[in-house]
């Protein structure tokens, strides 16, 4: 079992308060960072092999380095706390139980990218996390950590999965519907309110104080060769003890399921969604895979947001796909035709299949539509829908065919 870093205070009473955060070493990294040049902080984060923990897994230090060097106007730091990927709940824990870690990480990150203003975009449904985090920001202002060259605005969303996509989030932050924007320009060049912007996930930024305090080499050593650190795996579905498990990025899926008490229900594993609903599904024989970004990519799926959903062998794969397809149909923002149309029609077809009214050619139609649309849209949302469409059907085709006899 890995040393607990991000979740070390989760069991401590009042861990969300400034008092407890300070008593457990909080804000000591900030004191160190203030004595370092921005370039030195950036370099430390680069060497730590920290990768974005929201979904895309992009190297964090490299992202920060894309801010134009000669830019004279404002630079914004935006925290994506619009947690919404089905199967993921770790940012909720961090916001509620360790909000000061995010604040400290933000102040340090802001120094590295020379930003004076940060936004924390919290999904509208997260009322309690929003209250907790807002109270922590107030404490940080009163203690003088904020307001000394860096300010934080806490922003509440209003219900839309697509706002977890970084450019959709930026549109929403600008007071518009959350439509993603065409890239390039990437946010680091032209982001929120037209200015260079770094968008990072909550958990990613919570790692930063630890990297500063204990060094890049230590952090890199916690994980795999190409991804440093531990990560908060959200494990749910048919496991004995669902919950957040902080483990090394080098853990295997098999080990992780064991940490969560093993498979519940029938006790026999059928399949696992390894990184939130957008990650292609793995069959029971594919779980000896390392859970870092590259390990899961090589296995044909993705680490995504590390939301692990376990299926025992009583779960109907067609029914599960119908539920997932309903989600993508509901959350498609409607901007790009392939996504808007395909998600809706594929959901209808999945629904028909589950009702036992599937036609023999339905499966090939879904696969054809899914494959044609992949890669043709403005953002990665549709690719995220295609992952489950294709993998559920291709890996469990017999189960679908039994329902498609017309």
């Amino acid at each position: 079992m890995s040393e607990k870093i991000l979740s070390r205070n989760f069991g401590v009473k009042d861990s969300h308060t400034l008092k407890v955060y300070r008593e457990t070493g909080g804000y000591t990294a900030l004191a160190q960072a203030l004595g370092r040049e921005p370039a030195a902080i950036l370099d430390e984060v680069k060497k730590s092999n920290l990768r974005g923990l929201g979904g895309a897994g992009f190297p964090t230090g490299m992202k920060w380095s894309f801010i134009p060097k000669n830019h004279s106007g404002p630079v914004y730091l935006v925290i994506n706390a619009d947690e919404g990927e089905p199967g993921t709940f770790k940012d909720r824990y961090l916001l509620e139980r360790d909000p000061h870690a995010l604040i400290e990480g933000m102040i340090i990150a802001a120094r590295a990218i020379k930003s004076a203003l940060g936004f924390v975009y919290i999904r509208g449904e997260y009322v309690e996390p929003w209250r907790r985090f807002t109270a922590a920001v107030r404490e940080a202002y009163d203690a003088g950590y904020l307001g000394q060259g860096f300010d934080i605005v806490v922003h509440r969303g209003a219900g839309a999965y697509i706002c977890g996509e970084e450019t959709g989030l930026i549109s929403s932050l600008e007071g518009k519907k959350g439509w993603p924007k065409v890239k390039p320009p990437f946010p680091a060049i032209k982001g929120a309110f037209g200015q260079p912007t770094i968008v990072n996930n909550v958990e990613t930024i919570c790692c930063v104080p630890h990297i500063i305090n204990r060094g890049a080499a230590w952090f890199a050593g916690l994980g795999s060769k190409t991804q440093g650190g531990t990560r908060m795996y959200s494990v749910s579905g048919r496991v004995t003890t669902p919950g957040v498990y902080e483990e090394s990025c080098a853990i295997t899926l098999r080990e992780l399921i064991e940490r969560a008490g093993g498979v519940s229900g029938s006790g026999r594993l059928k399949a696992v969604v390894p990184g939130g609903s957008s990650a292609p599904i793995l069959a029971a024989h594919e779980i000896d895979v390392v859970m870092d970004v590259d390990g899961l990519r090589n296995a044909g799926t993705m680490a995504g947001s590390a939301g692990v959903i376990v299926f025992d062998d009583t779960v109907s794969i067609p029914e599960a796909l119908m539920v997932v397809a309903r989600f993508y149909a509901h959350e498609s923002c409607g901007q790009c035709t392939p996504c808007r149309e395909s998600t809706g029609w594929i959901y209808k077809m999945c629904h028909r299949i589950v009702e036992g009214k599937g036609r023999k050619d339905d499966l090939d139609t879904i696969l054809d539509v899914a494959k044609r649309g992949a890669g043709t849209t403005i953002c990665a949302f549709y690719d995220g829908a295609v992952g489950p469409y294709i993998s559920y059907i291709e890996k469990f085709r017999g189960e679908f065919e039994a329902l498609c006899q017309r």
């Binding site: 990927e85 089905p86 709940f89 997260y126 922003h155 209003a158 309110f193 029914e319």
Partner: protein, 160 residues
């Protein structure tokens, strides 16, 4: 709701200006101000959209586009309480369809409807990210977790 009654108090208008001042472009405060408007006026009618638009110098069409994009803005009166059952994957595996069916029967309404006494609006929603405690639902501001039909009964009973 008559058009005349749609106006923030002096204190609320000061809060609107404070929120607008937090963003490089005041339009950034549109979502927070719409939350305020909904809390104040109960729901976001076309008249409320026009009023909010006037506070930002935006077209009512822009505000309408925003309001209709997000799920948390109500465009019709809602019940005194909103019960939103998650029906995404982990909750589905843990019995969300049963919880929803139980609520529909108990309340005598379908998803999207409000009880005749105006007490409860029932919704089925996408992942609320509390999958470790599936099945779960949101009741107003609160997450209610690890639901069973009995627990749902007790929760609904307590809503007045």
């Amino acid at each position: 709701m008559s058009v005349q009654s749609i106006a923030f108090s002096t204190g609320q208008l000061a809060e609107v200006r404070r929120l607008q001042g937090l963003y490089p472009d005041k339009r950034g405060a549109l979502l927070p101000v719409l939350h305020m408007a909904q809390d104040t006026f109960g729901y976001v009618s076309l008249e409320v959209e026009e009023y909010v638009a006037s506070l930002f110098g935006l077209s009512p069409a822009h505000v309408h586009e925003v309001v209709t994009f997000y799920t948390l803005y109500f465009r019709q009166p809602r019940g005194r309480h909103v019960v939103a059952v998650c029906h995404n994957l982990s909750c589905h595996l843990a019995g969300a369809p049963l919880i929803l069916a139980h609520l529909k029967e108990r309340l005598g309404i379908d998803v999207g409807e409000t009880t005749d006494d105006g007490r409860i609006t029932l919704q089925a929603v996408e992942c609320l990210c509390a999958c470790e405690a599936a099945p779960m639902m949101q009741v107003d501001d609160r997450y209610e977790m690890n639901l069973t039909p009995d627990k749902v009964d007790r929760i609904v009973e307590a809503l007045r």
